[in-house]
Subunit: 356 residues, 2 copies
DNA sequence: CATAGTATCGTAAACGTTTACGGAGCGCGT
DNA sequence: ACGCGCTCCGTAAACGTTTACGATACTATG
């Protein structure tokens, strides 16, 4: 042994042990609630740790036991997402945390920079072993990230379904069902020319939504008219543009289904510029992400849900796929389609007299 | 045995070294760009690492060199914050990242759970040594967290000023200036009874804003009337409530300064219910956080800024206080008051005829 | 040829934890 | 006395890196 007795490197379990005149192994066991340690000494150790403000260094800890007690939530803060997502992610975060904190798991958010490839970013984060498990958001229709995670054997759950190879856990809003119910409702009111707006079908959401719409039309024996499907951004501006395009059609719709509430603001504005009044001349139905458009006149008919509770569900799905926690969350379904609730407003509250 | 074409899961630098038949030390030096390694072998190492997908384990790395290359952004996702902050944090994140990524620093968000004490949460995160430095947001008027960080010698910068002991770096929106300019503008239009709304003065922001308002009044020789200061939440509902309270006054204001654009929505709604029209019967001025209320009629006069650029500024302030980067960001001022720009609308565009 | 200098690389010691293992003390039954 | 089972604790070996240090081979110089 060639090292001399240098004085305090300031921190560490070693110092705590010296201060207590106990071996470092015992101190560690005491702190971690291991069985073979005298209750008396355990109390002493905990007291001293508290008093000296000792908290185990995470690097050493996770190096040894290969675990960090941290769950990551990956988000891609693309310009567009940021502009339009309101507080979706922060709200989900609240739901996730309410579950994780019960298990002393911390949640951190991993925002992929605008200019970096999400796949590479995730790869880096995974290799660094900074998290034990991951929540993946903004899933693509085909998403390489899932294969990466599966191969790396990192437990994960996705916010939003995907077609990608691995049969992974996810929770998703029931946009399929929303489109369906919206069509049903509008058809019941006599509408047959119903427009729909959604993002590009590369985004799985855009695909699902229009697909649900399409199948609902089929069910009602209504022909699918591609001209009535408008791909637009899920923003106020997108809504304005949707209205604009629809106004140009010679055989326009009598009703429209918007995928985001925010779009309704722009949509209202544009049609009213043309002297068309929502709820009287055209029916409008939407999904409500956040209660932003409360002030719209006439009140928007929309589908809503608790995003917080969706976060709770997603957290439980994730934990049920992690060996260390799965016994507490036994579940058969690892994939959940989260229901939405219809909030009737005035924007579609008129019966279309059968014309033509 | 420098062959074996199959890519098997990569365990660590040791395996990479064996695969290359080079010592582990050399591999490490090659990867980290250290000088004393042959360019030839460096290329081989980098190629092999790329091909086998090797990325250094962060635990081992940071255990050894005491650094993580990660910067944390702490946010308190309280219910109220989430409801009203729009995408403030995600937008700031974008600005921060655009600077950090130039230095190969990753940004993670540390959302303090609703039910946990922010101080304790931060303490835990710091002790775990999961980040090299921190951005602190939602600063309190007096905020123990700064003392904690100063004592732990963790570099940090705050989003929002504070009174706390340590002379720490921060960047803050110029709410003081907004209140000032708003009063000036309104006074120039003939107003003398001007109401203001802000959050509780425990929140430093609430204090600063009203203080600026107060001093501006003083400058114009107008008496400060506590009845015209309404403490309210920075939400649509808060705005509604502000209007409600002001309407009850027998000697009401002719103008009002709202701290958040979102409040204007509720404010408009309430006063219009009473037959009062903004921009004709009462002047309204606000700070615009996000362009949400574009649709308001008449258009809202407000102060805006680029929150993204504020993030950039804050990141630079932080880096300039970190020894490893400070040479790249030499600056004298470690504290920045971020200016806002007036966007004239119609909501205050009328000249008050001198009455009384 | 001897020596010094230089470029490149291997060796091993850290970093702070957890944990497998074994040992000391003790009580108790044979 | 002996063995056995407890309970408690100390020792030391990992975990995956980085890096100080020394070793080796080669080059240049005398």
């Amino acid at each position: 042994m060639a090292h001399g007795g240098k004085t305090r490197p300031m921190k560490g379990i070693r110092q705590l042990a010296e201060h207590l005149d106990i071996s470092i192994g015992t101190v560690s066991r005491a702190l971690n609630g291991k069985p073979d340690v005298n209750e008396e000494t355990r109390k002493r150790v905990l007291a001293a740790a508290e008093q000296l403000g000792y908290v185990a260094n995470q690097s050493g800890r996770s190096l040894r036991q290969g675990t960090t007690n941290v769950i990551g939530l990956m988000i891609q803060s693309s310009r567009e997402t940021v502009e339009n997502s309101d507080n979706f992610f922060l709200t989900v975060t609240g739901g996730l945390q309410s579950v994780f904190s019960r298990h002393k798991l911390d949640l951190i958010m991993l925002p992929c920079p605008h200019d970096e490839d999400p796949y590479e970013y995730l790869k880096r984060m995974v290799a660094r072993r900074i998290v034990d498990a991951l929540i993946i958001s903004e899933t693509q229709r085909v998403d390489k990230r899932f294969d990466l995670l599966a191969k790396a054997k990192i437990p994960f759950a996705a916010l939003g379904r995907s077609l990608s190879g691995t049969q992974h856990p996810w929770a998703d809003l029931d946009f399929d069902g929303v489109a369906n119910a919206a069509v049903d409702r509008l058809v019941a009111h006599g509408h047959r020319r119903i427009a729909v707006s959604a993002p590009s079908s590369d985004i799985n959401l855009g695909f699902i939504f229009v697909d649900g719409y399409r199948r609902a039309l089929e069910r009602h024996g209504i022909d699918y008219d591609p001209a009535l499907v408008i791909r637009a951004k899920s923003s106020e501006q997108g809504g304005y543009q949707v209205a604009d395009e629809l106004l140009r059609l010679e055989n326009g719709p009598t009703a429209v289904i918007l995928i985001y509430e925010l779009m309704a603001i722009g949509f209202y504005r544009r049609v009213m510029e043309a002297g068309i009044i929502p709820g009287r001349d055209i029916a409008v139905v939407s999904f409500r992400e956040a209660p932003r458009a409360k002030f719209l006149q006439p009140a928007l008919t929309c589908f809503r849900t608790s995003v917080h509770d969706l976060g709770v569900e997603l957290a439980e799905i994730l934990l049920s796929s992690m060996p260390a926690y799965s016994h507490e969350y036994p579940r058969k379904a690892r994939q959940t389609v989260w229901p939405l609730e219809l909030i009737p407003g005035e924007s579609d509250a008129f019966q279309l007299t059968v014309k033509k």
